[in-house]
Subunit: 460 residues, 2 copies
Amino acid sequence: MKAYIAENKQRFLDELFDFLRIPSISADSNHKGDMLTAAQFVETKLQEAGMDKTEICPTDGHPIVFAEKFIDASLPTILVYGHYDVQPADPINLWDSPPFEPVIKKTALHPEGAIFARGACDDKGQIYMHIKAIEAMVAKNELNCNVKIMFEGEEEIGSENLATFVKANKEKLKADIILISDTAIIANDIPSVETGLRGLAYMEVEVTGPNKDLHSGVYGGAVDNPINVLTKMIASLHDENGKITVEGFYDKVIELSLEERAALEAAPFNLGEYKKDLDIAEVNGEKGYTTRERAAIRPTLDVNGIWGGYTGEGSKTVLASKAFAKISMRLVPNQDWNEISDLFTSHFLKIAPKTVKVKVSKHHGGQPYVTPTDSIGYQAAFKAMEEGYGKTPVPTRGGGSIPIVALFEKELGLKSILLGFGLDSDSIHSPNEHYGVFNFLKGIETIPLFYKYFKELSNA
Amino acid sequence: MKAYIAENKQRFLDELFDFLRIPSISADSNHKGDMLTAAQFVETKLQEAGMDKTEICPTDGHPIVFAEKFIDASLPTILVYGHYDVQPADPINLWDSPPFEPVIKKTALHPEGAIFARGACDDKGQIYMHIKAIEAMVAKNELNCNVKIMFEGEEEIGSENLATFVKANKEKLKADIILISDTAIIANDIPSVETGLRGLAYMEVEVTGPNKDLHSGVYGGAVDNPINVLTKMIASLHDENGKITVEGFYDKVIELSLEERAALEAAPFNLGEYKKDLDIAEVNGEKGYTTRERAAIRPTLDVNGIWGGYTGEGSKTVLASKAFAKISMRLVPNQDWNEISDLFTSHFLKIAPKTVKVKVSKHHGGQPYVTPTDSIGYQAAFKAMEEGYGKTPVPTRGGGSIPIVALFEKELGLKSILLGFGLDSDSIHSPNEHYGVFNFLKGIETIPLFYKYFKELSNA
C-alpha cells in the first residue's frame, strides 16, 4: 500500500491541484457554477477510484456528491463525510500567492513543503485523501469494509440542505460509523484524535439610528450615533472577567471535571510559541481557564465582522444611519444553538437604547458534539493513528464546529469519528491557507488503517 | 436687480445643473480629472460674470480658482470664499436619483421645488449664487465694492493646500472682509446668521491583534479579538453622562453664559418635528444641555466609519487580524484641534490592552470660530438678510466646521461672515442632498444687499 502511494504521489498532488483551482466558494452566489464544477470533479474521481455507484444529488442550494461501494453484507459500512466548498478568500491582498492557484512552498513546520491554496486543508485536501485511500485499497484489493461517501457543498454556510438530505435519505445513508477528516492534529510528531467539537450560533445585527446618513457637524452630539451605540452594545457582551453577559448563556454548560481538564492539559502546548506565532504580547479570555481550555471546552462570543458609515479613502464627516455586525458564539455541551440564538436575540434587543431600532437575524448554527473514547470507532481511529505515526496519539477537544455531526447522531443514530490530519497553524479560513504534503500523504496511508481496525474491532 | 434675476432664472439653473453634473469628489483620487474640469467651469463662469482677472492656481492637491474685480481703491474689498469639491456620494444605492444627474423635485419644505444632486447645497449651489449675484451687479452697474474670489477644491478633505496658498499670498488676498455661503438658515421663513462654527479633529485608528486572520473556532476565546477590543475602546470614550472621557478634552472649553444660552434658545425649534424628520424615538447627548446646544455649543465625538473582519454576503467564522475606525470630534472655543488630536492619540494608546497594537493617525482638522455680532460685517449680513427676507434674522451658532475660517483670521487678519442660505434638512453629506430653488434665488437676491450694506457701514 505504502509503495502504491509513493509511486502515485505526484499524480495525487496534480489531481488535488486541479481540484483546488476550482473556486468553490459556497457563500458567494457568483460561484454557483464553480460549485457544480467541483461536484462533478469529485464524482469523476470517485468513479476512477473504483466506487460502484456515484451520483450528484441536487438540493435547494449546492449539490451533494454521494457514492457507494458494496462488498459484503457481513462487513461493516463506513460513511465518509466531508465538504468540497471553501471559505471566501478575502482579504485577497493578504495572500502571498493567488488563493486558487496552488503552489508548494516549504515552511518551518512543513520542511517537506506545504500546498498553499484556499481549501488545501479545509476541506478539499482532506476529502481528497479519502478518495485516494479508497483508490489504493481497491487497487491493492485491501478494501475490507463497505463504503459510502457523502461530500456536501454547504459546510461553510451551515449545511442546511444537507440536513434536509439526511432526514430524507436515512436508508441510503445506513452505516456503522461516520468518518470525517476536517480537523487537526497537535503537531506532525504529536498525533491526536479529537473527542469533541464546539457548537456554533452565528448571528447578524443591524442598528438603525436616524433614517438617513447625517452631517456629523449639524447633528453630531444631539442624535445618537448608531455606530457608537453598536460599539457600546457589543462591549457590554463581555464582563470584566471575560464572561459572556447574555442572560442564561452558561445555564446548560457542562463543566469538565478536574481530571478531564488535567487530561487535556497533559497534551504538549507551548504558550510562548503560540504567542510568537501570532505576534501577540498577551493572550486574553475567560478568567479561570487556560488558553487551550478557552479555545476548546469553553463557550465564546466573537465579532466576525463589523461595518458602518464611511470606510473609504480619506474622510467623510458623516453620522451614519446604520451600523452592522456579524457575531458568532462557539458552544459547548450541552448548550443548544437555537436556544442560545434566541437568548442572544432577546438580550441584544433588551440592551438597545430607545434612540435606535435593532434587528437581529440568525445566519446558521450547530450543536456541540462529543465522541465517547471507549467506542469502537474512536478506538479504531486511535490505533490507526498510532500505527500510522508510530506514536501514541493524544485525545483532544476541538474548538471548531462541524454543525452537522450532531445532526448525524440525531437522525442516523451514528457517531462521527474526527480523523483529521491538518495543523492549527494551517491558516484555514485565513489568507495563505496551506496543507502539508507530509500530512496529505500520511492521511492517505492512515485512512486504510482505520478501515482495518474498525473491521477487526467490529467483529471482535 | 430682482427683475434681472427673474428673467435669467432658467439659465442660472441650467448652468448650475451643468456644474452639478461634474463629479468633483476631492476625497477620491479617481476623480482628479473631474476636479480640474470643475475648476475650469468655475473660471469660465467668473469670466462671463464680468470678473477682470481670473486664474486657476495649481496646488499640491486640487487647484484653487482665484478671480478679482477692482473698481476703486476707495471702496471696500470683499473676498468671497467657497469650495467646488463635494463629499463622496456613497451609499449610492440610497439615492432616489443619480447624485450627479440633478433633478428638481417638490418637497414639503420646498414647495417651489428643490435641486437634488451631490453638492447642490454644499457648496456648488451656494458658490454659484455668488457668481450669478456678481453677474447681476455688473450687468446692472450696481457693483459697489471691489471683489476677490477664492474657490478651493479641498474643503471636504481639510483644505491643507489652501492653507499653504493663503500663507503664501497675503498681498493678493488683501481685503476688508471674507464672505462665505456654506451654512444654513433656520427655515425659509426664519432667516438667521451664524455667529460661530465648531472646530474639527478627524482621526483614524487601527487596532491589530494576531498577525493574520484566524479561525474563530480554533482561536476564539483564547486570542483577543481586535474588533471586540475596538468596540470596548470606543465605548469607553463617553461616560454615562455623555461626556467625552479623553483626559483634558474639556479643559479649554469656554462655557456660554446663561444669557448667551437663553439667546440661542430663543430661536424657534420643534423637538417633535426634529425627531419625526429623522424617525428617531429619542434624542441623546451630553447631560445638562438641550438638543440645539449639544449640536452647536458643545464639543462632540462621533465614529464616522468602522470596519473589520468579514463584511460580505453570508457568514465567515473569522477572527480578524485588524479593525479600523474613523473618529472625529467637533470642537468649540477655545479648544485647539492639534492639541485635541494629541490628547485623543495619547488617550487612545493608553486605553489599549496589551493584547493589541494600536495606530492612531490624524486626517485633518480646524479651529472653532466666532464672529462678533457687533462687527460691521456681521451687521451688514444681518441687514441684508432682514431686507432680503423681510424678517428680522435670528443669530445662531453652527454645529458644522469650516476649518479654514480660523486660519483666515490668523493669517489674513480677516473675519469671515457666514451668510449661508441652506437648510439643515438639505441632507448635505447624505444621500439625496438637495437645495431649494427658492433658497438659490433668494441667495442671489440677498448677496448684493450685503455688498450694499457693507459699503454703507464701512463708510459710516
